[in-house]
């Protein structure tokens, strides 16, 4: 049997019952489509998490207040709600720990912000100019505040690009404009450059004000939400982290390091945690989509078994005339592979489309990788072979006489 004969037989068989072929294929389309779309969502999340972490700055240690933990318990919630870190702690770190680059204490809170007629609720960070270096912040227009602003408790603010877009008309020069935070007027000094974040931890949707200004007018307490520290040399990260821990334990009078009232996190830990979370997320989404692909495959098998039963007499005749087992099994295998492969092609396009729609209308970051497309084609063909194999074998093994007598 020539290859072109198999193709022709397949074409005839699949077009004879278009509705059934179409519906069976739909199962594969949905399966492959959801695999493509879900993996795109997962990988999009992974990429945006990674780029956001990269944008925070490398060689970064973050010290956050945490409730005192008793050993064996893993409670460490309430950032900013504990009063364990103070400005003096930050000063002591800067003074006593060697090999540090910059030290930037900060406080944070969410406040109502009004400018002209617009108003929004956004996160306000009170910090020192060193924060710029620590967090890789650059200025798009205007300038950042200086230590002098901090010393004078000037009511000045630097806003993120999202805040600017929210509060001011497009194209308007914002430096020198007034904004009202928690009912207090601040003068805008400049706008930071976009880092392209999204979601809860968006570094574009932030307002920066001098630390002492924030303490006096906004938070009203001396406690610090975070101390960000850069370490001069990547190699020194662990040593610096240990030195800071020792210093703070001593300053806070804590003997047992397991009951520390602060947490020190470094960039590597965060990257690791975040990427392990998004990896699990991708895997989970992929697994859910994989199940629908499996269901699609079972649909193929079901259809092929029905077809083999319906065409028993025809198979008997073909075998009686002289078709070999492999002629018959190839014919049926080719049908199921054609179904899954076509389903795979349509599914890839559909999945790609779904990912694009999710990005456009759902604001979800997605990334369709070439590997997942190639994989989808491969998987769909393999599914055709796996789920078509049993029906094809059954057809090939029919006894011609019994098959010819089949009613």
């Amino acid at each position: 049997m020539l290859f072109s004969d198999i193709i022709l037989e397949t074409y005839i068989a699949l077009t004879t019952n278009k509705a059934r072929s179409g519906l069976t294929m739909l199962g594969i389309v949905i399966g492959i489509g959801s695999v493509i779309a879900m993996i795109a969502v997962g990988q999009g999340a992974q990429q945006s998490v990674q780029s956001r972490i990269q944008s925070i700055g490398s060689n970064l240690l973050m010290i956050r207040p945490g409730f005192a933990r008793s050993p064996g318990q893993n409670v460490s919630q309430g950032q900013g709600s504990s009063t364990s870190l103070t400005l003096e702690d930050a000063e002591a770190i800067r003074a006593d720990v060697p090999s540090l680059g910059a030290v930037a204490p900060s406080v944070a809170g969410n406040y109502q912000v009004i400018a002209g007629g617009s108003n929004t609720r956004t996160s306000v960070t009170g910090t020192l100019p060193a924060y710029m270096n620590v967090r890789n912040i650059s200025i798009e227009s205007g300038s950042f505040f200086t230590d002098l602003h901090d010393a004078r408790r000037s009511k000045v603010a630097v806003i993120g690009p999202d805040v600017r877009d929210e509060l001011f008309p497009e194209g308007e020069e914002v430096a020198g404009k007034k904004i009202r935070i928690k009912g207090i007027d601040f003068t805008v000094l400049g706008v930071t450059e976009s880092k392209g974040g999204s979601g809860m931890d968006n570094s574009d949707d932030v307002i920066y004000v001098p630390l002492s200004t924030a303490i006096q007018y906004l938070t009203g307490t001396e406690s610090i939400s975070m101390i960000s520290v850069t370490v001069a040399d990547q190699e020194q990260m662990d040593a610096a982290s240990a030195a800071i821990r020792e210093l703070l334990l001593e300053r806070h009078d804590i003997a047992d390091s397991s009951s520390a009232d602060f947490r020190i996190m470094n960039q590597a830990d965060i990257v690791e945690t975040a990427s392990s979370v998004t990896e699990t997320f991708t895997l989970l989404l992929g697994a859910v989509a994989g199940i629908s692909l499996l269901v699609g495959g079972i649909g193929i098998m079901n259809m092929m078994l029905t077809t083999v039963t319906e065409r028993t007499r025809e198979i008997g005749l073909r075998k009686a005339i002289g078709a070999k087992r492999r002629d018959i099994s190839r014919q049926f295998l080719s049908e199921s592979v054609a179904l899954t492969f076509l389903g795979g092609v349509v599914g890839v396009v559909a999945g790609w489309g779904a990912a694009a729609l999710l990005t456009r209308f759902g604001g979800v970051a997605t990334s369709v990788s070439g590997i997942s497309v190639v994989l989808a084609f491969g998987v769909s063909a393999v599914i055709g072979i796996i789920f078509g194999y049993y029906p094809a074998r059954r057809a090939a093994r029919l006894n011609p006489i019994e098959a010819l007598r089949y009613e």
């Binding site: 007499r313 025809e314 005749l317 073909r318 009686a320 005339i321 002289g322 078709a323 002629d327 006489i401």
Partner: protein
């Protein structure tokens, strides 16, 4: 060359045993035109299936062209069928929803005949059975019984088999068309030297053959040379 020794076939369905064939011993030389006669249920189709390598006997030996067929695998038997044997089944067994010409070309597909050569062979076979040319592209399920029968015969002849089995080939034809079909088989036998094994229960039709074997209840009751062969 066909040699059968003590061929038997027993069908088992649970506790039920049907002896369809028992102790059939005979041989057929190349180029013979043989008719197998017998009443309904006597085992004619069963014998044809065994001789045509579609079924295996429950007992006895069947030697085709000097080789014991019990030694062959299923695919090897299929290979012999496609090269040497043509079948006209009692119930035609055409592919449904498929054109007449494609039905006739089917054996050529499995024989591996190139696409370009198939149509001419199929057309020649259809002309040989006088199948009307304007219906070549009709679907097989749009034909009359007699037309289906002729398509089935054309399909059996298309790969030029040296051994042709015809199970009641004239069963659905009027006398005149039946005679023409028999004449075509006769011609195939006389001019090309093909061995023909014809199954019928009509002595009129059996009269075209050189030799007539009669079976009853699975056993051979007579094996005679036909002295008064029909001349066409």
């Amino acid at each position: 060359m066909i040699e059968c020794r003590n061929l038997s076939k027993i069908y088992r369905n649970g506790d039920n045993e049907t002896v369809a064939l028992s102790g059939a011993t005979f041989s057929v030389v190349d180029g013979e035109f043989l008719a197998i006669m017998g009443p309904s249920g006597s085992g004619k189709s069963t014998l044809m299936n065994i001789l045509g390598l579609l079924d295996s006997p429950s007992g006895g030996r069947y030697i085709l062209d000097g080789k014991d067929i019990s030694k062959y695998s299923e695919d090897e038997l299929a290979d012999i069928r496609i090269r040497k044997i043509g079948f006209v089944f009692q119930s035609f067994n055409l592919l449904p929803r498929t054109s007449v010409i494609r039905n006739v070309m089917l054996p050529l597909v499995y024989e591996g005949v190139p696409r370009s050569g198939r149509r001419a062979l199929a057309e020649a076979a259809l002309r040989a059975v006088e199948f009307p040319e304007d219906r070549w592209e009709h679907l097989s399920n749009q034909l009359s019984g007699g037309q289906m029968q002729r398509v089935a015969i054309a399909r059996a002849l298309v790969n030029n088999p040296s051994l042709v089995f015809a199970d009641e080939p004239t069963g659905n034809l009027d006398t005149k068309t039946g005679e023409r079909v028999m004449a075509a088989l006769r011609k195939l036998n006389r001019e090309k030297g093909h061995t023909i094994i014809l199954i019928t229960h009509e002595s009129e039709i059996a009269g075209y053959a050189d030799r007539i074997i009669t079976i009853r209840d699975g056993g051979i009751v007579s094996d005679l040379q036909n002295t008064a062969v029909h001349t066409v």
